[in-house]
């Protein structure tokens, strides 16, 4: 089946090509396509040419295959299958391979620095690509988990704006105990 080509224009006026089936991974693009408002090029004023190819790469992987990300979220295996009489072991194996391959792809896909992460998150949000948004949010969370405030600042390139007194206060507040025994 040959697919219609869609053209997307980034905020800095660069045009990118994407298959319609891939573009449908984005709710926003899907609505534009289904709404018949397609007029040559779709302008995306909120997505720069740095980020748009990254988004297109994700859509190509997931376009027309909306189920995959869901299966990953469920741990990769659809447990209901086991109780179905026509349960196909071969199919199940193939599915596992697909899921493993997708996980590996996502790992490599998500290997970038935090500025890209934020821009990608914005693009995923703007284009309503749920799976991509989840990926970016999870990645941000993983850059926080188990880290000290210092390490988090470093990961996200943030400077602390607390005064030294406030920093001190956050470490420990311990009252002086009353040092008196009232009994006679």
């Amino acid at each position: 089946m040959s697919s219609t080509k869609i053209f997307l224009k980034s905020s800095d006026d660069k045009t990118f090509e994407i298959d319609e089936t891939a573009a449908r991974a984005s709710e926003t693009l899907k609505n534009i396509i289904d709404g018949g408002c397609l007029d040559g090029v779709i302008p995306l004023p909120n997505v720069s040419s740095n980020i748009l190819p990254k988004v297109i790469e994700y859509c190509k992987k997931h376009g027309g295959d909306n189920g995959s990300s869901k299966k990953i979220a469920n741990g990769g295996v659809d447990k209901d299958k086991e109780i179905l009489p026509d349960y196909d072991e071969e199919e199940d194996k193939r599915e596992k391979v697909r899921v493993d391959e997708l996980k590996k792809w996502e790992e490599e896909y998500m290997d970038f620095d935090q500025q890209v992460l934020y821009d990608l998150m914005l693009a995923a949000n703007y284009l309503h690509i749920k799976g991509l948004l989840d990926l970016t949010v999870e990645k941000a969370a993983s850059m926080i988990r188990g880290r000290t405030p210092d390490q988090i600042r470093e990961n996200f390139n943030i400077n602390s704006d607390f005064t030294p007194e406030e920093e001190e206060e956050m470490i420990l507040i311990e009252d002086e105990w009353d040092d008196e025994w009232a009994f006679d």
Binding site: Y118, M121, L122, N125, Y126, L133, V137, E138, A140, A141, I144, R145, G146, R147, T148, P149, I152, R153, F156, I158, N159, S160, D161, F162, E167, E169, M170, I171, L172, I173, E174, D175, W177, D178, D179, E180, W181, A182, F183
Partner: protein, 259 residues
């Protein structure tokens, strides 16, 4: 989507410790991470019964979480209560007859114990001197109770400025088994009776009666095994090891159900 909106997507995926770290990153993060909805969710996961109360707690869920979880020892604001505002209503029954009934005013309340009266046995000192925050209420006049038999106790606290009451310990009976080894252990622990707010955490708060021998005695206290009465000179409210400061103790009291 602003930075703030992005963080509001990320923060719900974090646990309490990570969220606490986020609050220390910068002021902007702190404002978002202290969102009480996040802390309500975390509190509900840790202490499900906390979020089933009919009235919202008078402190934020963040403060409540911080208080109940000993790992973070930080408070954002001082409690609205002060010890000067409080008075304790104490009733103690022995064999269902009232043994002591009185209001212990704030002026007699002392927290933390460093200088114990000489009658307190050496073996009981480690408890009274240990970490963990205790409110010690002296009982005057001291009264005697039989060692055998039922002992019940109830403690209410009144917040004078607001003229509100809260129940700290509902009338509860000492288990006879708990009385084993009572003498020569001058200090008698009641079974753990929990603060209303902390029903899920039976080991957090408990009440103790402080005993001393009912006669002037010098010499070997182990002979007291044969004493049949003992004199109560005080009551200790122990909030457990997570309550380590006056602020913590006051915050814990402030989250009682005040009526």
């Amino acid at each position: 989507m602003s930075h703030e909106e992005a963080l509001r997507l990320v923060f719900p995926l974090l646990n309490d410790r990570d969220l606490a770290s986020c609050m220390q990153v910068c002021k902007h993060w702190k404002d978002i991470a202290r969102d009480d909805y996040l802390w309500k969710c975390l509190s509900a996961r840790r202490w499900p019964s906390l979020c089933k109360r009919t009235t919202p707690p008078p402190v934020s869920y963040h403060e409540l979480f911080t208080l109940l979880d000993g790992r973070f020892h930080r408070m954002d604001r001082s409690p609205t209560l002060s010890f000067d505002d409080l008075e304790f209503y104490i009733d103690i029954w022995a064999e269902e007859r009232i043994g002591f009934s009185g209001v212990v005013p704030c002026s007699l309340i002392r927290v933390g114990v460093k200088h114990l009266p000489p009658e307190v046995l050496a073996m009981n000192r480690p408890y009274l001197e240990s970490d963990g925050y205790k409110i010690i209420l002296p009982v005057r006049p001291k009264f005697s109770i039989p060692i055998e038999g039922d002992i019940s106790i109830s403690v209410l606290v009144r917040w004078r400025d607001e003229n509100k009451f809260a129940c700290i310990f509902e009338k509860g009976k000492l288990d006879q088994n708990e009385l084993q080894g009572f003498a020569p252990n001058i200090l008698q622990f009641a079974p753990p009776i929990t603060l209303n707010i902390l029903k899920v955490h039976a080991d957090r708060a408990f009440i103790s009666l402080l005993f001393m021998p009912d006669f002037n005695f010098e010499g070997d206290f182990s002979l007291l095994v044969h004493a049949d009465r003992s004199r109560v000179f005080g009551i200790a409210l122990d909030f457990g090891v997570n309550v380590r400061s006056k602020t913590d103790a006051l915050l814990l009291l402030s989250v009682l159900d005040w009526d």
